[in-house]
């Protein structure tokens, strides 16, 4: 079988090496889903563009990465994210040519899409982004995309010598298939055009909490929150999830939340990955601002509220009971993930 290249993104554990924008040797979970899909198409080859620790290699091997290529810039002045995508691009181009890869799979994030775009131009084949599923077809891989807000599924053959597919890795499960990996190192020289991008500064966000527009997680409150004091609970949940605080027309009108946090027809229209609607019945006005969210979670006391008809997960209950319990559950899970004592 021909090899299939998988781009592995580095993960940052709590604060570790984040000042340099790098990683501390861990790999992001997106790689596991990519490896699972790559196994269907051929022999997976993991391409890592950051220093990877032994446990990162083990994790990749657990999901079937028989070959792991660790790429580094030949001139060691590229340690920022701009350079990381440039290194990934050069490494994938080089390996795709050398190994005559049958496909390249990348995670469908910003870095992945940028790499995919430039790589596809160099390789001259097909490109698809946001694929929720990939499987082999008669003339190259078949990628499945969701369009029109998930109401249609489009299946496309991705043709060309080495097609490039950016996969929405959250849409499916990863399945383990342990192997003994071979780890190789390679040095790449970065193209002139990407070397010209210089990073001036990297600093922590002044306002810890992001604004609703463009936030990947939005926690919103409505009439059910009941008071301005009640909104501190919404804020706590937003902080725990690293999200923005939003509000309905009612909440903004009564001054429970700022006007620029208003989500709806006359306010912000948001497209977050996760939308947590707390005490929101789901008026047409509000739905117009949030129904594009990838995942909608609704918490409301009224089981007949219209919000439940568009929610992925509905919790019937009082948010004043459910949210504190949710905060505790999240804290428990995070503690367990870190391997610390469970409170």
């Amino acid at each position: 079988m021909r090899p299939v290249l998988v781009l592995v993104e580095g993960a940052e554990r709590d604060g570790g090496a984040s000042a340099a924008g790098g990683a501390d040797g861990a790999v992001r979970a997106s790689a596991f889903r990519l490896l699972t899909l790559a196994r269907r198409l051929g022999d997976p080859v993991a391409v890592v563009c950051h220093p990877v620790a032994a446990y990162g290699v083990d994790a990749l091997a657990r999901f079937g990465a028989a070959r792991i290529c660790v790429a580094e810039p030949a001139d060691p002045d590229g340690k920022d994210t701009a350079a990381q995508s440039a290194v990934a691009l050069e490494a994938l181009t080089e390996l795709a040519w050398q190994m005559d890869a049958s496909a390249v799979l990348v995670p469908s994030g910003r870095l992945g899409r940028e790499v995919a775009a430039r790589l596809a131009v160099r390789l001259g084949g097909g490109i698809v982004t946001g694929a929720v599923d990939v499987r082999p077809g008669p003339d190259g891989p078949v990628a499945v995309q969701e369009v029109c807000g998930g109401t249609y599924r489009v299946e496309s053959a991705v043709r060309g010598g080495t097609p490039v597919i950016a996969v929405d890795t959250g849409a499916g499960e990863a399945e383990p298939d342990p192997v003994d990996p071979v780890v190789e190192r390679m040095f790449v020289s970065v193209a002139e055009s990407s070397r010209r991008v210089r990073r001036l500064a990297r600093r922590p966000k002044a306002d810890r909490r992001p604004g609703v527009a463009g936030a990947s997680v939005v926690v919103a409150g409505g009439r059910g929150v009941g008071s301005a004091e009640g909104f501190t609970l919404i804020e706590k949940v937003a902080d725990a999830l690293g999200g923005a605080v939003g509000g309905t027309h009612t909440a903004a009108d009564r001054g429970w939340c700022p006007q620029d946090a208003l989500i709806g027809q006359t306010g912000a229209v948001v497209h977050p990955r996760l939308y947590l609607a707390c005490g929101i019945s789901g008026s047409v006005h509000h739905r117009a601002g949030m129904h594009h969210a990838a995942t909608i979670v609704a918490i409301d006391t009224d089981p007949d509220a219209p919000i439940f008809r568009i929610a992925d997960v509905g919790v019937v209950g009082d948010l004043h009971d459910v949210l504190p319990a949710l905060l505790a559950a999240i804290a428990r899970q995070r503690a367990a993930e870190r391997g610390g004592p469970t409170p």
Binding site: R118, D312, A329
Partner: protein
């Protein structure tokens, strides 16, 4: 300084949502004849960003470029009303059904022909939303790119020549990049709300120059673009039943919250 904004004529979601049953034509492309088109919302931010740069410099000319069917002239007119000085409309029957490769090739050829210092694009079109054309165009032109920037400045008087500064949010950090021109940037909806054009601007937009180019003008063979040459041909389009609601949790707050937290973790949402 020559600013070029790449704009796209997309189906108007608000107008067409009720009749979405007839979205796809027999050749499995989006049936644009059935739909009302408009300037992609994300591209309005790109035009606005170009205007903000133009306001701080004296030497700016803004060109709006679109590739699309004859109706796409409406999108160009809108971009002109929002502030672009002139328009370029690439229209050719052979372009129907072009994939990202062909689109980027045509746009790169058009950019090479009209010349540019800075190309500004919206982050993603509201119809296909692949978000790859800006970087693909940059690769073809051999220029640097910053994709999905949350802020862009191109003030004159930088010590090291003509540089644009792009700001991008990366998780809980903010990063600033300096890119020498010529360059390509794509901007998110955080760069600043587009203005609503004054009536005067809408009227004047009709008087501005719009050049119409065909594939022959760009010296691209017609058989290398379009549906037949697509490297990602669509095989099947099927309506997909909405999954919602997938899960309804009821019961004690503690148990419900734990179930919810588990679901969110399983789906990698937190």
């Amino acid at each position: 300084m020559k600013l070029v904004v790449l704009v796209k004529h997309v189906p108007d979601e608000i107008v067409d949502r009720p009749s979405s049953a007839a979205v796809f034509a027999a050749d499995m492309t989006v049936d644009r004849a059935q739909l009302t088109g408009r300037l992609s919302e994300a591209d309005e931010y790109a035009v606005e960003q170009a205007m903000r740069i133009a306001r701080r410099r004296l030497d700016v000319q803004i060109t709006a470029v679109t590739m699309g069917p004859p109706e796409a002239i409406r999108t160009l007119t809108r971009a002109l009303a929002l502030g672009a000085d002139e328009g370029v409309h690439i229209v050719d029957e052979a372009l129907h059904g072009s994939d990202a490769q062909a689109t980027s090739r045509v746009l790169a050829a058009a950019l090479a022909r009209c010349g540019f210092d800075l190309v500004i694009c919206g982050v993603a079109s509201t119809d296909s939303g692949m978000s790859v054309v800006p970087a693909m165009v940059a690769e073809r032109l051999g220029v640097p790119s910053v994709c999905e920037a949350d802020g862009v400045w191109a003030d004159p008087g930088w010590a090291d020549g003509d540089v644009i500064v792009a700001r991008r949010e990366d998780g809980d950090h903010v990063e600033d990049f300096a890119v020498p021109m010529p360059a390509v940037v794509s901007v998110t909806d955080r760069v600043g709300e587009p203005r609503y054009p004054a009536f005067q601007a809408i009227v004047e937009a009709r008087q501005k120059t719009v050049r119409t180019w065909s594939l022959a003008n760009l010296r691209i063979p017609a058989d290398e673009v379009g549906l037949a040459a697509s490297a990602s041909p669509v095989r099947r389009v099927a309506p997909h039943a909405a999954r919602r609601p997938a899960l309804l949790v009821d019961g004690e707050p503690d148990a419900a919250a734990a179930r919810l937290a588990r679901h969110l973790t399983e789906h990698q949402l937190i």
